[in-house]
């Protein structure tokens, strides 16, 4: 049975036709997963709920455009990851505006210490590493970011990714390989960037 005609496919079709109860069921089914994805990327407890609300609001307004080519959770996962990176980008811009009276060197340094933890003085090793990966992921496309996250963070196999996205396994392998190459280049550039001592 294809996804569109599965039980979840029927739930999505109900939500697409404006059934509020179906939308509520989708929220309740995936809210924990969405919270967990956001917390992994953002780590700001206070902002997790706000971003999660925004994710489900986007799900509500875009569910009519869901075309069943991927599974619902893959689609929600993509919206969630994008929302997190939008949040981090806005946060970075706010930070730059606030520090606009700094010298050019200082601004350059701030741009490379995103999003809040200085690499030279890690409050926590894990947080510093999280910032590093987030910074690298900002240099790849939305699709590459989602695939990398599903593979590396969620631990999905190439077969599962093919099933979830509707692409064939070779396409997934090639896309992941190119995304990894971009990450490597971004890492090389980042490591060459001077940071404050």
């Amino acid at each position: 049975m294809d996804y569109e005609h599965s039980q979840e496919g029927a739930l999505v079709r109900r939500a697409q036709s404006g059934d509020e109860a179906a939308f509520r069921e989708i929220v309740e089914r995936y809210q924990s997963k969405v919270f967990s994805i956001i917390h992994g990327i953002i780590r700001q407890r206070n902002d997790v709920e706000d971003i999660a609300q925004q994710v489900f609001s986007k799900v509500y307004f875009s569910i009519r455009n869901f075309d069943f080519r991927s599974s619902l959770i893959t689609w929600i996962y993509k919206i969630t990851v994008n929302e997190c990176f939008d949040y981090l980008r806005k946060k970075k811009v706010r930070k730059l505006v606030y520090e606009s009276d700094l010298s050019e060197d200082e601004v350059r340094r701030v741009e490379n210490t995103e999003p809040a933890v200085d690499r030279q003085v890690p409050v926590d090793q894990n947080l510093a590493q999280r910032d590093y990966v987030v910074k690298l992921l900002m240099r790849v496309s939305e699709e590459e970011r989602t695939l990398l996250m599903l593979k590396e963070v969620e631990g999905r196999s190439v077969e599962e990714l093919a099933e979830m996205t509707g692409m064939n396994e070779n396409t997934i392998k090639v896309k992941l390989f190119r995304a990894r190459q971009k990450l490597m280049k971004a890492a090389q550039r980042l490591d060459r960037t001077p940071v404050a001592g």
Binding site: G40, R45, S57, L148, K173, L176, F177
Partner: protein
Amino acid sequence: MHQVILDRLEEYLAGTPSSREFTAHLESCPECRTEVSEMQELSSAFGALRASEEIAPRSGFYARVAQRVEQQRPRSLASVFWLDPVFAKRVAFASLMTLAVLGSYLISRETQYSSGPPDPEAVMAQQAPTQDPDVMLATLASYEP
């Protein structure tokens, strides 16, 4: 990177035991070895993005989502009036004032036109020199060449 590595790269990075062919190529190809090693290092860094603890949504999460949906729903003109009666009253008052001003202006213009523009004969009579016969006769009688 060579095809033999590319084919099995994702399995290798996920920790699946690699095939003999894969390992043999990696040992003999320094270029692939370096690239795979760098990719492996980056792959392990992703662990930092896994949530270290479960954060459960506070109760009433769906109600708050529904509230946000309502806030972000594109509002129709009718719903603007329905949702904000004070605004609706102000718009109604402003509309009445505009109507009153416009109405009085139109009425004043109507009054001005009701006297009507002078007809052509009247205009000619005003503009032509005096044609009164008595006046003309008196003028002729007093004429001295």
